[in-house]
């Protein structure tokens, strides 16, 4: 009996290891994570508007149906990414996610203090290179220094009512995910 209990305790220790292994492996094994899903909207390094969620037609789960979204997948391997957009004079926010869907940065229109979004994402190495010879056009941009290989940016823009829909759609369609530095 005691021996069986000892074996069961040993099993518990292995159970702990299995538990940790599963939890840490899930992000790299999940095939339907946010990064993979965002590929469905079109090529990388471009913004794609996600239709507003409706009953029976939700492109991405758990998005606010009162918001309109645009998403862009990017890679920092070919250099820094600059994102520009002229957004409506209403609530909007922008969030940067890494490959695993971790939110590494987020900002709303009030914190940005303007309706124009100008965000530069670069790695620490690219940041150091840029500092040696900073382009004047970068002075007004928000710079986000993150050790990312790939990631995606999601812009959410509030649609107060359907009359605002054309204006919001237009400004999201004009969002640029590959602006010149």
């Amino acid at each position: 009996m005691i021996r069986t209990i000892l074996f069961a305790l040993g099993g518990l220790i292995v159970a702990g290891m299995i538990h940790l292994t599963i939890v840490f492996l899930i992000p790299s094994l999940a095939g339907k994570d946010a990064w993979a899903q965002m590929a469905r909207f079109g090529p990388d390094r471009q913004f794609h508007t996600i239709a507003q969620s409706q009953a029976g037609a939700e492109a991405v789960p758990d998005l606010d149906p009162r918001m309109m979204q645009a998403v862009c997948r990017f890679s920092l391997a070919d250099g820094p990414v600059r994102i520009t957009a002229d957004l409506p004079d209403e609530f909007w926010s922008v969030a940067v996610f890494d490959r695993r869907g971790r939110n590494v940065y987020s900002l709303n229109d009030r914190a940005a203090e303007r309706a124009h979004l100008d965000l530069v994402i670069l790695t620490p190495v690219q940041m150091a290179q840029t500092r040696q010879n900073p382009p004047a056009s970068l002075e007004s941009a928000i710079t986000l220094e993150q050790a990312l290989d790939v990631g995606f940016v999601l812009i959410r823009a509030f649609v107060p009512d359907d009359s605002m829909l054309p204006a919001v759609t237009r400004s999201l369609a004009g969002a640029n995910c590959a602006a010149a530095l």
Binding site: R3, T4, F7, A8, G10, G11, L12, V14, A15, G16, M17, I18, H19, I22, V23, F24, I26, P27, A30, K32, D33, A34, A36, Q37, S53, Q54, A55, G56, E58, V60, P61, D62, L63, D64, P65, R66, M67, F91, S93, A95, F97, R100, G101, R102, N103, V104, Y105, S106, L107, N108, R110, A111, L154, R156, F158, P160, D161
Partner: protein, 191 residues
């Protein structure tokens, strides 16, 4: 023989407890990092750069893109003030006020987290279109049939949940995540 039985016991314990606890911990409604107030629960960790491994595993499985701390905070409720699960066959009042936020939206989802088809085709309420009383409080009636005033249509499903998204709220930057004013969900009647 005895040894084989013991080994089988150890193996069964390892697999059942290991896989079971991992599944439980990663399933939606993870207990880690939850903040509860007045029947509403939020997971501020979801929108943080230092999200824990359980939160990351949950996000990877669902494919959700959570609100970042700079965007807002999302609260969810699955039960009324009496602790009963929310049912689409009942009418509810969501009354009171929300924590400070520049904008909020209230949306109803079915048990699987999908938006529900409803008679009005209205997916939710936001703070600008709501009628408030003299104190600034509001009362939203949840019902599958047409109601006067602030009416949030729901589908006639067994279970549903509410999501209150607070945009640009000081909650995400500070430690004031205690003693929150949240709207109370009270059952009115069932059909």
């Amino acid at each position: 023989m005895r040894f084989l039985i013991d080994l089988a016991v150890a193996f069964a314990v390892a697999v059942i407890v290991g896989v079971g606890s991992a599944w439980f911990a990663v399933d939606r409604g993870t207990i880690f990092g939850a903040v509860s107030a007045g029947g509403w629960t939020a997971w501020p960790q979801e929108g943080s750069a230092d999200a824990d491994p359980y939160t990351l595993a949950m996000l990877a499985r669902t494919g959700e893109v959570p609100l970042g701390a700079g965007e807002g905070l999302s609260f969810t409720a699955t039960r009324d003030v009496d602790g009963n699960p929310l049912s689409g066959r009942c009418d509810y009042d969501v009354a009171g006020n929300t924590p400070a936020a520049r904008l909020w939206t209230l949306t109803a989802y079915d048990d699987d987290g999908a938006l529900m088809a409803n008679v009005a085709g209205r997916p939710g309420f936001h703070s600008r279109e709501i009628v408030r009383d003299a104190n600034g409080d509001f009362r939203i009636r949840l019902s599958a049939v047409v109601q006067p005033g602030n009416w949030l249509p729901i589908g006639a499903v067994d279970r549903f949940r509410l999501e209150l998204r607070l945009y640009d709220t000081p909650l995400t930057t500070g430690s004031q995540l205690t003693e929150l004013t949240m709207p109370a969900i009270r059952k009115v009647a069932c059909s």
